[in-house]
């Protein structure tokens, strides 16, 4: 009997599960390090209170200075620890890639083995030698796989040992003190100064950041997470790490305050809501259905104190530094850092629809990076209306400032894209006031491939048509629902104020915020959207018009979402152009007012008239019917009488008439 030795089926190697856990630990350590660094910084700059003199001052100064030195040592120890974990995570990312390759090899080997076994089952004598050769070759490949697997396991062990050594090296105060005083410790003050000199040149920032040592980057992530997390040009992953540690630091601090019996002030409460909204926006991607897509979530902006506590927040679903297609969604009024979770849900809907097109990888970003007009009274300068800064909806001031911020953010995305800006299809989507903001950015030179304006109250920036937006030809897209009242505001709708004294009205401006981009003459590519529900009265205008029709563009039932997804995924040429509006925006407003007049004024009058007419008609009919009935009755009476007479005559005649003639 001749034998063909086939190697054993290869079992699956357990996947290393350290990534999520270690990432969480890193965020914890960085958050703790940042908090301790802040305390140390405070102690170093304060020393003894200025009104202390003599021995007491010296003693206090010594105590505070000692405290500063100790906290600095702790901060340095945590910084070193974070560096060790970060390096471990970097290694683990490499190990995961290697693991995936190994498991792919394993699958191929097992497939080849199964095929060989099948052929052996029907082997003939003359085939045995060839199959033995083949089996020997397969055994060699199996052996090579085992060697690769063993090397990989040893690398994982080495990485773990290195991380533990790094952590052990600074787990005592003395070691922390030594690390704090070591010559190799990065000088974060100097690094911060270097960064400051680069200004808003995002390419320069990116080059500078990538040129730093791992230790220097790590030190900055701990000493200045708020700066690094919000600097355009810093890679997305590093911004995410910085911002997550800031969020965690803030939540721990504020919840700690509350737990200690301190009642949070309104601004502290808002600060907490900003931080928790970021957390919620991250969690969203782990819920169905998105959890099945394994989305890489990145917090790319977090400034809870910005704009009087309204806050700045931006969350990316997917990695914009590697994505083939990236979208930046700019929401409109009533948005601030506390609403990033709900706007994140919009960005997730867009992500899902876009990846469904299977035209490359996707990242969608909900960006609340400008001062969106809202009703937050605490963010309004004292002495002005108590309507928060909602009054800013009437002007383009916030949109103009927001446009600059948006341009800088987009520049940062272009700088950090690993394949260069040209390899990424970048779309900016502005909704409502966000469309005005986006148009301002475009008018000033927005470095994006596509611009989408939805539910727009007017394309700002003084542009009269699509050419003023400086986008590639055919790449300005507009979606406007017929029953979205915000889209009725663009163009010329003057606001005049009576001045009295016979001077005539003063023109205060227009109701909208620039030209209506959905006009055919504006020259944009208009796409189909759900036209929304009709509504009546001021109540319907607010609840259905503003609060439903105006905010439905990201719903799965709305063709707007699928069209935007096509644009985002680089398939804008597949989006049908509806041609745009040929009626002025104000005509839509006038038509609605007219229909309201019809609904509230004409219809009741006509109904009344009809009722009257019907009353008259009914009366006439009744009269006619009475007359007719009377006449009929009379006629029928006459007829019946006549008939009776005829019958009677007939009878008489019949009685006279013989039964038969003789």
């Amino acid at each position: 009997m001749r034998t063909i030795a086939v190697p054993d089926w290869l079992p699956r190697e357990p996947e290393p599960q350290v990534q999520d856990a270690a990432s969480a630990v890193l965020t914890d350590v960085r958050a703790a390090a940042s908090a301790v660094s802040d305390v140390s910084e405070w102690a170093r700059t304060n020393g003894a209170p200025s009104d202390f003199t003599g021995n007491a001052a010296e003693a206090a100064d010594h105590a505070v200075t000692r405290f500063a030195v100790d906290t600095d040592a702790v901060s340095t120890a945590l910084e070193r620890g974070a560096l060790a974990i970060d390096e471990f995570l970097t290694q683990m990312r490499q190990r995961r890639t290697e693991y995936a390759d190994l498991m792919e090899r394993r699958q191929l080997l097992n497939d080849d083995r199964d095929a060989l076994v099948q052929r052996i089952e029907t082997v003939t004598d003359d085939q045995i030698e060839a199959l033995q050769t083949e089996a020997a070759s397969l055994r060699q490949r199996f052996e090579s796989y085992y060697q690769g697997l063993q090397t990989w396991r040893e690398c994982v062990q080495t990485d773990e040992d290195a991380a533990i050594r790094g952590l052990n090296a600074v787990d005592e105060l003395a070691e922390g003190l030594a690390a704090a005083n070591s010559d190799g410790r990065p000088d974060t003050d100097a690094l911060r100064e270097q960064l400051g000199r680069l200004g808003s040149n995002t390419d320069a920032v990116n080059a500078w950041w990538n040129g730093l040592s791992e230790a220097a980057r790590n030190a900055l992530l701990i000493s200045d997470p708020d700066l690094i997390g919000n600097t355009n040009g810093v890679p997305t992953g590093d911004r995410d790490e910085a911002n997550r540690s800031s969020v965690q630091r803030d939540i721990e601090y504020l919840l700690g305050l509350r737990a200690s019996g301190h009642e949070l002030s309104a601004s502290e409460q808002r600060w907490l809501e900003n931080a928790q909204a970021i957390e919620d926006s991250i969690v969203l991607a782990d819920k169905p259905p998105y959890n099945a897509l394994d989305i890489d979530v990145n917090v790319v902006a977090y400034q809870p104190q910005a704009f009087g506590g309204d806050g700045i927040a931006a969350v990316a679903y997917g990695d914009p530094d590697t994505a083939d297609n990236t979208a930046v969604f700019v929401p409109g009024i009533m948005q601030d850092g506390t609403t990033i979770d709900d706007r994140g849900a919009d960005a997730l809907s867009l992500y899902q629809e876009s990846v469904g097109n299977q035209n490359g990888s996707v990242a969608t970003i909900a960006w609340i990076g400008y001062d969106s007009p809202n009703f937050n009274p605490t963010s309004m300068p004292a002495g002005l209306l108590d309507g928060g800064d909602a009054a800013h909806t009437l002007t383009e001031a916030n949109a103009e400032a927001g446009g600059h911020a948006l341009s800088s953010f987009v520049d940062g995305l272009n700088s950090t894209h690993e394949g260069g800006a040209a390899s990424s299809n970048l779309t900016v989507i502005g909704h409502s006031y966000g469309s005005t903001t986006s148009a301002h950015a475009a008018a000033d030179g927005l470095a994006a491939d596509n611009l989408v304006l939805i539910g727009s109250p007017g394309a700002g920036g003084g542009v009269s048509d699509v050419s003023g937006l400086h986008m590639p030809q055919g790449h300005v897209y507009v979606g406007a629902a017929d029953h979205d009242p915000v889209t009725w505001l663009g163009g010329e709708i003057p606001i005049n104020m009576a001045t009295g004294f016979g001077l005539g009205p003063t023109h205060l401006g227009n109701l909208g915020l620039g030209e209506d981009p959905s006009q055919h003459d504006f020259g944009a590519h208009n796409f189909a959207v759900d036209s929304g529900q009709t509504f009546h009265g001021p109540g319907g205008l607010v609840t259905t018009g503003f609060m439903d029709n105006h905010v439905s563009y990201f719903e799965g039932t709305n063709p707007a979402l699928a069209n935007m997804a096509d644009i985002v995924s680089g398939q804008g040429d597949q989006v049908a152009d509806t041609g745009g509006r040929t009626q002025d925006a104000r005509d839509y407003l006038d038509d609605w007012v007219g229909s309201e007049a019809q609904h509230h004024v004409v219809d009741p009058i006509v109904d009344g008239a009809v009722q009257t007419y019907e009353g008259v008609r009914d009366g006439a009919v009744q009269t006619y019917e009475g007359v007719r009935d009377g006449a009929v009755q009379t006629y029928e009476g006459v007829r019946e009488g006549a008939n009776d007479a005829i019958d009677r005559g007939q009878d008489a005649w019949d009685s006279l008439w013989p039964d038969r003639w003789p």
């Binding site: 819920k287 897509l293 506390t338 009703f375 909806t393 607010v542 039932t557 007219g594 007049a597 006509v606």
Partner: protein
Amino acid sequence: MGQPVAGSMAVTSRKVEAMRRHTILLGLLLALTPLAACSLFGSSQDDGKAQKTQRSVTARAQEALPLATDAVGGSNIDAEASWYECMQNLSWKYNGAGTFTASPDTVDNQLAAMKSALVAAGYEDVTQVEGHLSVTQGDFTLDLQQNPAYGPTTWVFSFESDCSPYSSADGAYISKDTGGPIEGLSP
């Protein structure tokens, strides 16, 4: 008969102008005045509306999703729902989303089967997007699609109420809601 109507039309013309001015003023007021929000949405006259909406949407989801899933020989319905703020402090909707697995078939066949089952159960077909099925019943809308990113047999769905204002008390209820899975969805 003609005279009064002609008269009323003349009145209507003036009313239209007045209403136009009122409409513009309304827009301004909406933008300017938080009191508008407070007066419109701060009353507590309709407390409990949020819970009613949540119960109603959940009940519809518990009815419609098993019907849709059953129509395509599907299983493993996984859904979560929560409140979503359409406009900050002004309007909200209760919405959910999830996935289920269907038996292998063409997307067109499966869309037709689900549509047939849902329409027979009294849902109105309001589909506007190719490759989707959208149905509605009262204040409940369900959208289903076979999204290739999830794999060939996985269907993705979302359901929701309309965006609507709620009272202050409802607002407190909504803000405390952290969402959660929808139970009772097995066909």
